[in-house]
């Protein structure tokens, strides 16, 4: 009953952006084949950042890496050495029977592999190639190296992020990765529609850096119209006051509150048992509250300090004030709303055990999409894919294994890489 079950995707993605994009398609029912090689497994299998079940790497750590087992659910996994000519030949046979290829290599890698779009299109004129790169495949900076945080800086997102009056705050998050990884599958599906009509595939060149610039549109427009640059304003808002993050009871517990009208302000005063503040001229209207926001924030924090952040959220929401507890990871798994919506799924992996994972935010009324396969172990589906899809005999598969073109164990060099 899955929405995309007629689509086959070859996932050459590594780290997060490509795999995340392919994960969306897999979760919605597409047949996604993650292609790695023993010489070059997805780096997150090796550089697992110590994220193993119970912290234990185990006998085959490359199959117990949390980062891999999270975003590669619902995919088949094969290995294939694309640098060998026989490997390339087999890959092109897979291309012939597939609809989509996803990759997020650095610009130029696909070409060096002899696998760029013209080659793929010759094997299958209807193939869609999605290239998800940091800067796009063209331009003077296309070969520049970056991590997620780099693109947060170079996209403009961090120029407006920071504590008030302080330098921009450089985070360790990777927002651009997420925007592009979520946009990619939508673009692929739109392109598939075009392929059905025009009979020809397309190469989608998606830039993570540009995707992040798209999400600060109003900031760009203010510069275009007024040559005005936005400064970081912390948790404040240009016109809503109070608007901020306030300490609550506990070691590192906070609640966010955003008041958008005089009526809400009066309600808040009532809830804080400080009705006299509603008559205080310093806070009477939005402009006045904005002027005295430092004082106001102190008053509010005096009240929030002694309370649990979920309680505050509930009390304020009851009277229609936007309040949100700052939840940590553990709290997310216990959150009542996510619980009732059954957002987290229990997944059992043959070598990593059972864990809870986020479901898809795309909820289709007629199709309960979700996790039906754990992430593949390295080369787990070699036999299944080569035998069933490509019709290779057991002898041929054994030959490929013998030549080291396919396998289920990373090479010594790969293991030592990190």
């Amino acid at each position: 009953m899955s929405a995309l079950k007629d689509i086959r995707v070859l996932d050459l993605g590594t780290y997060f952006a490509g795999p995340n994009c392919a994960w969306h398609l897999a979760t919605m029912g597409a047949e996604v084949i993650k292609i790695e090689s023993c010489r070059h497994p997805d780096p997150l299998r090796i550089a697992a950042r110590e994220v193993y079940p119970g912290g234990e790497p185990g006998e085959r750590p490359w199959n117990r890496s949390g980062m891999i087992n999270e975003r590669n659910r619902n995919k088949y996994g094969i290995t294939l050495d694309l640098t060998a000519s026989r490997g390339k030949e087999i890959f092109l046979r897979l291309i012939k029977i597939s609809d989509v290829v996803v990759e997020n290599f650095q610009a130029g890698v696909m070409k060096r592999l002899g696998m760029d779009y013209p080659v793929l299109a010759e094997a299958n004129p209807k193939i869609i190639l999605l290239s998800l790169s940091s800067q796009g495949l063209t331009g003077p900076e296309k070969d520049y190296r970056s991590f997620g945080p780099t693109l947060e800086q170079t996209s403009g997102l961090l120029s407006i992020t920071g504590y008030p009056g302080e330098p921009p705050y450089i985070s360790s998050l990777a927002f651009p990765d997420l925007v592009a990884g979520t946009l990619g599958p939508g673009l692929i599906l739109a392109a598939l529609r075009h392929v059905r009509r025009a009979g020809k595939g397309v190469h989608i060149d998606l830039s993570q850096r540009e995707s992040a610039t798209n999400v600060i549109g109003e900031v760009i427009m203010d510069y275009v119209m007024n040559q005005r640059l936005w400064e970081p304003m912390g948790n404040r808002h240009p016109f809503m006051t109070p608007h901020g993050c306030y300490r609550c009871k506990g070691e590192d517990s906070w609640v966010t509150i955003a008041v958008s009208s005089d009526e809400e302000w009066r309600q808040l005063c009532g809830i804080m048992a400080r009705t006299e503040l509603a008559e205080d001229s310093r806070f009477l209207n939005a402009l006045a509250r904005h002027k005295h926001q430092e004082k106001l924030d102190k008053i509010i924090e005096e009240w929030t300090r002694g309370q649990d952040h979920y309680d505050i959220q509930a009390k304020l929401q009851e009277v229609g004030i936007a309040a949100g507890a700052v939840l940590d990871t553990r709290e997310l798994f216990d959150d009542p709303h996510l619980g009732e919506r059954q957002f987290f799924e229990k997944v059992t992996h043959p070598e990593a055990g059972t864990s809870l994972h986020p479901g898809t935010p795309i909820r289709l009324s007629k199709m309960p999409e979700g996790t039906h396969m754990p992430a593949p172990c390295l080369g787990e589906h070699n036999t299944y894919i080569y035998n069933k899809l490509l019709g290779l005999s057991d002898a041929e598969i054994a030959e490929l294994e013998g030549e080291g073109l396919i396998g289920i164990v990373p090479t010594k060099e790969a293991l030592e890489l990190h």
């Binding site: 997060f16 969306h24 110590e50 119970g54 980062m67 999270e70 800067q135 796009g136 900076e141 520049y144 970056s146 780099t150 800086q153 403009g156 120029s159 407006i160 992020t161 504590y163 450089i170 998050l173 927002f175 925007v179 979520t182 946009l183 599958p185 529609r193 075009h194 190469h203 989608i204 060149d205 830039s207 850096r209 540009e210 610039t213 999400v215 600060i216 109003e218 760009i220 427009m221 203010d222 510069y223 275009v224 119209m225 005005r228 640059l229 970081p232 901020g244 993050c245 966010t256 949100g324 700052v326 939840l327 940590d328 990871t329 709290e331 009732e340 994972h357 935010p361 795309i362 909820r363």
Partner: protein, 392 residues
């Protein structure tokens, strides 16, 4: 126009503010006929939100509105009237997609819930983007960008240890939800075109954000560790702004070499990544005299040329001047009868040789005649009457 990937798709766009309109903006850019349904007289609330040129409000000059609503048509329609809702149903009959981002109780209260619309058009894909989704204990909760960021789990990780966590500037999470809405709609549309029946796509902004938190979620599941706010990453002041030092262990030696300070390589305080972290302030004291003499882009390019993944904190001004963005033709100039010619961020992708020109945002009700008369067959006189009775 007929060469675009979504040509022939008709979208009825009931969205307002950011998340919904960004979702439909993407569809419109890909060639879908996107009909934005706005409240008579006022239109989408973002028409009242700046930025405005010289800060003078004008419903056709809001930078936010103009950016979010490129390539769309605008009709006015009052959904609070019975006639208005009947007219909407006529539009829905011939549509492929309907997108809305009202609070969940709104569409059902208007008799426009998915069950009702499905009867009118069984092939319709209805996408609803809301703060917390169509069900659940928080369904009717109020939200803003900051509160959504908080409940997503992400905010806990942004900012300094020991003081309040930080939100990203602007409203990037609203935009991200719009992207999820776009992809979700494409999934349902793919299915509808295959089997002939549509469905209701329920997008919760909270879930969009929690689902992007996957690295921390799996780390907690596997190791029981709750990641929090760590020391901020290295940032250095240049002549005209900031660069960052995201230097991994194997690349470290190139940095002192680039800056002509080879002696730093022998300094025991800076030998390992851990020791560099501990002595970060001392290291920055050595590097600062070098960076402060140079512009951030100079350092960025020199560093990248030396194989270092340096980044610079780009402002809107930097991006508009960026050689990379110019080469990609990322910014597009679009003319508008009231706002004039302005540069806008374009689409962050190229699709082969398919056309990628973008068109301007519409004036309020600009396409009333085209849609009501041209598509639904109303006479011009009917429009006068509908206007007089507050329907359009």
């Amino acid at each position: 126009m007929s060469k675009r990937v979504l040509s022939g798709i008709k979208v009825i766009d009931l969205t307002h503010y950011i998340a919904g309109p960004f979702c439909t903006k993407l569809m419109a850019a890909l060639g879908a006929e996107t009909i934005k349904v706005e409240k008579p007289s006022e239109g989408d609330g973002t028409r009242k939100m700046g930025p405005f040129p010289s800060d003078k409000p004008d419903p056709d000059k809001s930078g936010l509105f103009l950016y979010l609503n490129t390539d769309k048509k605008s009709i006015t329609l009052n959904l609070k009237t019975q006639t208005g809702r009947e007219v909407l149903k006529e539009l829905i009959r011939e549509a492929d997609v309907l997108v809305e981002n009202f609070e969940p109780r709104v569409m059902p209260s208007l008799g426009l819930d998915y069950k009702a619309l499905e009867k009118i058009n069984p092939k319709l894909v209805m996408t609803s983007i809301s703060n917390f989704g169509q069900t659940g204990p928080y369904r009717d909760y109020k939200a803003r960008e900051i509160t959504l960021f908080a409940v997503s789990g992400q905010m806990y990780n942004l900012g300094d240890k020991g003081r309040e966590p930080l939100k990203y500037g602007g409203s990037p999470n609203q935009y991200l939800a719009g992207v999820v809405g776009f992809t979700g709609t494409m999934v349902a549309l793919h299915h509808a075109e295959k089997v002939g029946t549509g469905q209701h796509v329920d997008i919760s902004i909270m879930e969009c954000l929690v689902s992007t938190h996957y690295q921390d979620l799996v780390q907690y599941q596997y190791t029981g560790t709750v990641l929090g706010r760590i020391r901020r990453m290295g940032i250095l002041l240049c002549k005209d702004g900031f660069i960052s030092l995201n230097v991994q262990a194997p690349q470290w030696p190139r940095l002192p070499m680039l800056m002509g300070m080879p002696e730093l390589l022998e300094d025991s305080r800076f030998k390992t990544m851990e020791s560099r972290r501990i002595h970060a302030d001392e290291l920055e004291a050595y590097l600062l005299p070098w960076t402060i003499e140079r512009s951030k882009e100079e350092v960025y390019h020199a560093g990248q040329a030396a194989g270092l993944p340096l980044g610079y904190v780009a402002t809107a001004e930097d991006l508009l001047k960026s050689a990379q963005y110019k080469a990609r033709r990322f910014f597009v100039d679009i003319n508008h009868p009231v706002a004039g010619k302005l540069s806008y961020p374009g689409m962050p992708f190229k699709m082969g040789n398919l056309p990628c020109e973008q068109g301007r945002a519409p004036l309020l009700g600009e396409h009333n005649e085209e849609i009501y008369c041209g598509q639904l067959g109303y006479a011009k006189g009917d429009l006068v009457r509908l206007r007089a009775t507050g329907v359009i």
